[in-house]
Amino acid sequence: MDRVAGRKSALVWTVHLSVLFLVALWVVPTLGLFISSFRTADQISSSGWWSALATQERQLPAIRVEGEPELRDGLYVIEGTLFPRERSTLSAWGTSSLKPQAYQPGDVAELKDGMTLSVDDKGRYVLTSPDPLEGKRLPRIFATATQPPEFTLDNYRQVLVGANTGISIGQAFLNTATVAIPATVIPILIAAFAAYALAWMDFPGRALLVAAVVGLLVVPLQLALIPLLQLHNWVGIGKGYLGIWLAHTGFGLPLAIYLLRNYMAGLPRDIIENARVDGATEFQIFTRIILPLSFPAIASFAIFQFLWTWNDLLVALVFLGTGNDQLVLTGALVNLLGSRGGDWEILAASAFVSIAVPLFVFFAMQKYLVRGLLAGSVK
């Protein structure tokens, strides 16, 4: 018996470890971008995000000595500090780019014209010169310092207002919400009425209609782009919000009808027949009984449709214009990837602005999302 039990616990441990490994594999990429979005551009390009929590030693860009000279004991002296804000620790320094680590903290370097320079481990420097310093090129300091972990919200501040990127993510966020919310709400009622008719009313051609809805469920919307754009231009809507709301409504309907019909068909027959016997009209049955009872299915669909419209790129590219007042988050991200592909601080913060809302919806309403998925595909 011992052996069996021992094997069992080894198996359980393997399961724990493999799940842990898989979860790490799934979470780490997102985590990497998330951490990067809080680091400065310098930090991102000088070390991997996984070292963000460790103190890092790195070579800083050259800093030129500056300040008002004071006369002390016949020498002109400039004092200052390399790190006015951060708590960094200097480990080596130099005065030329060829030998950036020539001196230790506290060493005194003899420079030309009798100047001397010393830097201590806190980054405080002292420059002395026997001659007046006016008009002279002051030396540069190349410092190697260890920096404590530092996180900043500047990236978010920068992308939200669009300073120096030309693309305001804050504006794009509003545009995306403007697209997504009506495109989520409008199909629900249309689909609910149709689903009720398909689930509980008897009429010739019902089975055919259900089959048609299932067929349309998988029609690639790539087919719809050009004809609908031509249609919108012909009607006079052109490219704009009205067009994309209509398009999303049309594309979302098959799933909505399918999900709601499956759910409504599973409601107890007694309730509906009792209501009919009691003299309720179909319209009353629908609004008073079916609609409230179908809330879980409606919530599922609403989450799907919201995630889908919020995350969509293709429909927005085709049916919306490219101006700042119509650019959605996904489009803005693609533009940034093209124009600022190496600026990870901007990309990371922008990406997180765009996925924050879906992630929130996802975690808050996971129950309905899972239920909808199951209703939509498992028979």
Partner: protein, 409 residues
């Protein structure tokens, strides 16, 4: 008018309009056209009940017809015409003459094999493993999370993973940082050669098993084939497809075994021809595995306990229980998951656009079509490409419709 206000107004008008339409049309039907009163009360009720479904359905049918059914017809016409005149199959022949199209087709086939297979496999593994551990729900929730992230957002996330810096600079991409850990010793041999070869061989063994299962009736029972020629044909096609996949994976094993890996040099992963496709596919697998997991996990839970208990009593080990008892019982669900992911793969566009835009031989059909329609403004060839996507989706469409019809009977 500010778009946000416009949006709010649209919600009010849209919802109000719907309610108003349904309410008013019902009222009209019940009170004015066929009132349940007077001499014909009974007949009127029946008539009203015959018309009412169509009142309820009208907005949906109208929208579906206009936004999904009509475009299918219109696109077929566009693919056969040029500037309004019928040109027959010219657009198609021009498309077939383009190397970019064949590149897209090849890549799409790769995507169609790899992404559904890996997503389903990962989903199944996670669903099974998380079933019995106490933090299973948290693990599932985290693996499911990428479903909420847009394809573009996921592309940004993975671009950071694939980021490459010139040699000597610190690598900020996770993959390159890991890659530089391999120096060509035994560890590298194990992780980069033995492990992939084992994985591909396992995949090939699975395919071979499938081919054998599907192909055996063809070989042993030719008379049965004659009785059901369509099923026989499907079987033969499946066997041929399976054999070609088998050949490809065995060639892949040879490739991995003989490849000289450039140890110690950072790689720009997205420009390595052919293999960059797999780096793009990883993004979609990462997104879709959670979906597969959720559905398969529910299916696993629905398996009757008795079958598993009986197997345990008969002395089956956990692997036998999984492969011989559980998997066969959820085969239907696996097929559903597989086909659903297949459809997603056929429409994949955002990932390729955001990560490589089809450069370095990573083009896929959906992005090719977008290129043709909206960058080259070649509507004819673009529509032809869209029709190819439609043709690839059609078998699944027919299969789904067939199943629903069967269910409703």
């Amino acid at each position: 008018m500010h778009p946000t206000i416009q949006a709010l107004m649209t919600i009010v008008i849209g919802v109000g309009g719907c309610v108003g339409y349904f309410y008013a049309s019902n009222l009209l039907l019940d009170r004015v056209i066929f009132p349940p009163r007077g001499a014909n009360a009974g007949r009127n009720i029946n008539r009203a009940n015959m018309i009412r479904p169509w009142l309820f359905l009208f907005p949906a049918i109208f929208a579906l017809g206009l936004y999904l059914a009509y475009p299918v017809v219109a696109t077929s016409w566009l693919s056969l015409s040029r500037e309004g005149t019928f040109v027959g199959l010219e657009n198609y022949s021009r498309m077939l003459a383009e190397p970019k199209f064949w590149e897209s087709m090849r890549n799409n086939m790769l995507w169609l094999i790899v992404v559904p297979a890996l997503s389903t496999a990962f989903g199944l593994i996670v669903a099974q493993l998380t079933d019995r551990i106490w933090w299973g729900n948290i693990a599932k929730s985290l693996i499911f999370m990428p479903m909420a992230i847009s394809f573009v957002g996921a592309s940004v996330i993975w671009k950071l993973v694939y980021d490459a810096r010139p040699e000597g600079q610190p690598q900020i991409g996770l993959l390159n940082a890991l890659w530089l850990q391999f120096q060509g010793g035994w560890g590298s041999l194990l992780v980069l050669k033995a492990l992939p070869i084992a994985a591909i061989l396992a995949f090939a063994a699975g395919v071979a098993w499938g081919v054998w299962r599907v192909g055996r009736p063809v070989a042993t029972d030719p008379a049965g084939l004659a009785r059901r020629p369509l099923a026989g044909l499907l079987r033969v096609l499946a066997v041929l497809a399976g054999l070609s996949v088998l050949y490809l994976s065995l060639r892949g094993v040879l490739g991995v075994a003989t490849a000289e890996l450039p140890y110690g040099k950072p790689q720009t992963w997205l420009t390595i021809l052919f293999y960059n496709n797999f780096f793009l596919m990883a993004v979609l697998v990462w997104i879709q595995a959670g979906f597969a997991m959720v559905i398969l996990s529910a299916a696993l839970r629905a398996i009757p306990e008795e079958t598993i208990e009986a197997a345990i009593l008969d002395g089956a080990n956990p692997f036998q229980i999984f492969f011989r008892i559980k998997v066969p019982q959820i085969m239907g669900t696996i097929v559903v998951v597989w086909t659903t992911i297949t459809i997603v793969v056929l429409k994949v566009f955002d990932i390729v656009l955001a990560m490589t835009n089809g450069q370095w031989e990573t083009q896929v059909l959906a992005n090719y079509m977008y290129d043709k329609m909206f960058r080259a403004f070649d509507i004819g060839v673009g529509s032809a490409a869209a029709m190819v996507i439609m043709a690839l989706v059609t078998p699944i469409l027919v299969w789904n419709v067939y199943n629903v019809r069967k269910e409703m009977r």
